[in-house]
Amino acid sequence: MNPTIGWIRSLAESWGVPAALVPLVPFLILLVVLYAVIGLAAYGAKRKWPRADKTIAFWLFISPWLIGFAVFTVGPMVSSIYVSLTSWDLITPPRFVGFANYSEAFSDPRVGQALKVTLLYAVISVPLQTALAFLVALLMNVDLPGIRLFRTIWYLPSLVSGVAQMVLFLWVFNPQYGLANDVLAKVGVQGPGWFNDASWALPTVILMSLWTVGGAMVIYLAGLKDVPSNLYEAAALDGAGVTRLFWHITLPQLSPIILFNALTGIIGALQIFTQGFIATGGPKDSLLFFVYYLYDNAFQNFRMGYASALAWILFVIILALTAVTARGSSFAVYYESDQGGRRRPRVRKG
């Protein structure tokens, strides 16, 4: 335990603070100190106590998130840069090794395999998920009795956590006792080994990922509900058929949502972990997803430096792919607020 925190705790104990509340005392004191620092910074900047300043109110309201972001996101990120330059097993002190972890990563065949598996998963699953979610949203947008029940049924699987999903599908795709092979056997087909077969494991995970398209479907549905009906009416009056309505109104109107789902889908796909973890990398590393390999190095092999280097490599890859997707798709995405290449001002002038 940190000596300062230990000292505050023993001080609280000597004050007779109930044992259950003792851990809270250092936290509250540190919080008060932190806000005092912020207040002093504000005072230093304004040369007076900023009582009626809206900007100060803004910073004070946003500060819980800001502090959380700095302490739990920026702090660990900065720390992991340093760790990635060391060799550290958590037991003995970290040893500075420069860029050795990065150069090892570039010559590690398992990094190549992990990248191949992860990118393959992203390249196949994201378009499939996007297309299926869009298709289902179109179906769920039809005004029929009981449609809300269908929407709920489609959305429900998204509420199941990753581990539970994987355990469920391990059963479904169990080669001996699973539902999938039982059904296939009934139509005279001998089912594959699914997760137990190196050539089937990744397709099985991709197939499994389609079970949870409900989350994206809800976003598409919200977008579909938002398309102005007068656009359809005007096009229909001009003689547009269903295909033209879809191609020239629905699709362009939903293009920002498709981009959003594709971007979040790519980021999520590149960070896939649970499936690889539960299947322990799959046969012949067929499910060696990058984040699972990173975890394996950090918490199975206790190579924190190498794992941190892998984390930064993944960060750069995700950043690059996101930037390429966002930039590359700009010609295909229609924004209502765009007017002849100029964005509509957010605040009306005058």
Binding site: M1, N2, P3, T4, I5, G6, R9, S10, L30, V33, L34, V37, I38, A41, A42, G44, A45, K46, P50, D53, T55, I56, W59, S63, L66, I67, A70, V71, V74, G75, V78, S79, D89, L90, I91, T92, L170, W171, N174, P175, Q176, Y177, G193, N196, D197, A198, T280, G281, P283, K284, D285, F299, Q300, N301, F302
Partner: protein
Amino acid sequence: MKLFNRRLLPVGAGLAALLLAAGCATGDAQPAAGGNKESADISFSFWGTNSEAASLKAIAAAFEQANPGTKVTTNWIQADYEQKLQTSIAAHTQSTVMEISNTSLAGFAPSFAEQQVDPSKYVQPNISSALQYQGKYYAMPFAAKPKVMAINVDAFKAAGIPLPSKTTPMTLEEFRTVAAKLSHGDGKTRVFGSSNLWYRGWLTAAGGGYYNADATACTFGDATGVATAQYVVDLQKNRYAPSSVDIQGQDQAQWFAAGRLGTFSDFGPWTVADFVKISKPNWTLVPVPGKGFPMEVDGLAIAKSATGKQLETAKKFVEFASTQQVAQDKLIQGNTALGVPIIEASTATLEKVLPPDRNLAAFTTALKTGQVGVSVAKEAQISGDAEKGMTSYTPLGTGKDDVAKILPQLNDKCTRALKQ
């Protein structure tokens, strides 16, 4: 708005938060318990199931009772024990006393205090030597986990096979013959003569091992290793034992209870609780064939950073759990056991849990003959990679490649990793 333009405030807030985070993250190493070096209170981390945790909490309570004025705060880590232990060591928040197995000792030794262990206090010398690393003791033993084999007595009688000796193990060839005779039926109702065969266990039974005696080379790819792998593969291929795919998601103890297994070879002290419920088929315990499976020895380590009264209390606690009958008897809770007691006075405690015809005395026999492997610093990584290769590429798992080709390759890779 000037304040916003200066951008001093967010930078200041961010810096303050970072400094606070940095301040919280560093500091002098101290055991977590109490935070006060002059306090005699200690903390104790351990893993296990509900009943195993009950055993260890009972030992801690017995120690407090025997030593008035001392307090042992228990820290039951239910999952990912080694990961959490390692991260707590990195954060200097580790407990004063930590449970550790002989297989994991080497990796953690740098953060444990050296201990003085008297081998004569235990039923056999293997028990204390299991917790030595580079000639020094880094933990004091308190429980052993030898393996025995359950046999379906009804199935043996129905097949006209004489029951195996209760004290002398079968040879591997005798076991193969028995497994063949006990196997019958087809499809999902097939009865297997043996439960799934754990390669590392059968390798030890055959006289081999993963590493050589001084842990400088891997040996599972040698002639014994390949022959044992072929033995396992043959038993699976002939359907005398289920494969890893057959048992995926299945509980083999339930298979045994349903009469689908003639023998159940991976039977540890904690398995007793599952088998107590099985009255039909009739069953009893016999030694594992050959030289038996590797025996795990669990010990209690003291944090290297413990000092003053905490260190004194920790030493007393470890000695108490390891050598006092009142503590050793508490390894058995109801009809389950965390492990086999390691002092002579307590060995009979486990045997009395069930009637003599179940032969729990087989554990005592296994304890005295148990094979203890060497401790390797990067055990999880090295053996994990080797096992991953075996299960991926060979019929020991879901692969199809020849064990005679793959095992020597994996063995070479393993030896290289060992030398790094």
